[in-house]
Symmetry: C2
Subunit: 130 residues, 2 copies
């Protein structure tokens, strides 16, 4: 099976999270992107999203590792829905080790240069409804 | 809580499905929309989507009722991700009565007239990964 361009984009974004390279990470988002920080809390735009990732890295005591185990990509025009099984782990979290699976949903859009940018990052998927 | 415009749009689309009013239903889709008919099978564009809905209505012996029990909507620019708990039921299915819950994901986009159209209809949500 051919690897979709977006799988590589998301792999690189995960690497940037895992390396805490927030400058590089912001490159994956559109200017007006929305990140679900947790159900009920959104970060809007690169500045807020960057701040959220810095806080998340802190919260996990700089040991967060994110990886997508499986992905399905559905494309229409310049927009794509990505459904992913994301694995999060952190072995240095202050109070306890941590590992969890999330069924995430992301929306990507091609910008005017043909580059895919994440416009909606909802790692909680349908958990938002709980 | 205020009702999001899209909740009404989706309610009306569900009504069109339940009434088997496929002309009206097609109005909710963009020209290039993608429908996940089932995992691995996509319908692309209004003609294929309409044909898929006719077949689905047939399959459920014209008794399919779709209803969204809960929705979360995340908007960025002209695009919105909808995560929904959808309830499907059919009491006249040939072999057995049928009822199921699905955690669905839809992507909507505002067209040039400001009307929301569904561009990706994935009622299977993360089930695509199974």
């Amino acid at each position: 099976m051919q690897i979709h361009e977006l799988e590589l984009v998301i792999k690189n974004a995960d690497r940037a999270i895992n390396n805490e390279d927030f400058d590089q990470l912001m490159d994956f988002y559109s200017e007006d992107a929305t990140l679900v920080v947790k159900p009920g809390t959104l970060a809007k735009g690169k500045e807020e999203i960057r701040r959220a990732f810095v806080a998340i890295a802190d919260y996990f005591n700089h040991s967060l590792i994110v990886n997508q185990e499986k992905m399905a990509i559905i494309e229409t025009g310049d927009t794509a829905l990505v459904v992913a099984k994301a694995l999060l782990s952190a072995n240095q979290k202050t109070d306890s080790a941590f590992s969890m699976e999330r069924m995430a949903t992301y929306v990507f859009k091609k910008d005017s240069t043909g580059t895919w940018r994440c416009i909606i990052d909802n790692s909680y998927g349908a958990e938002l409804l709980e």
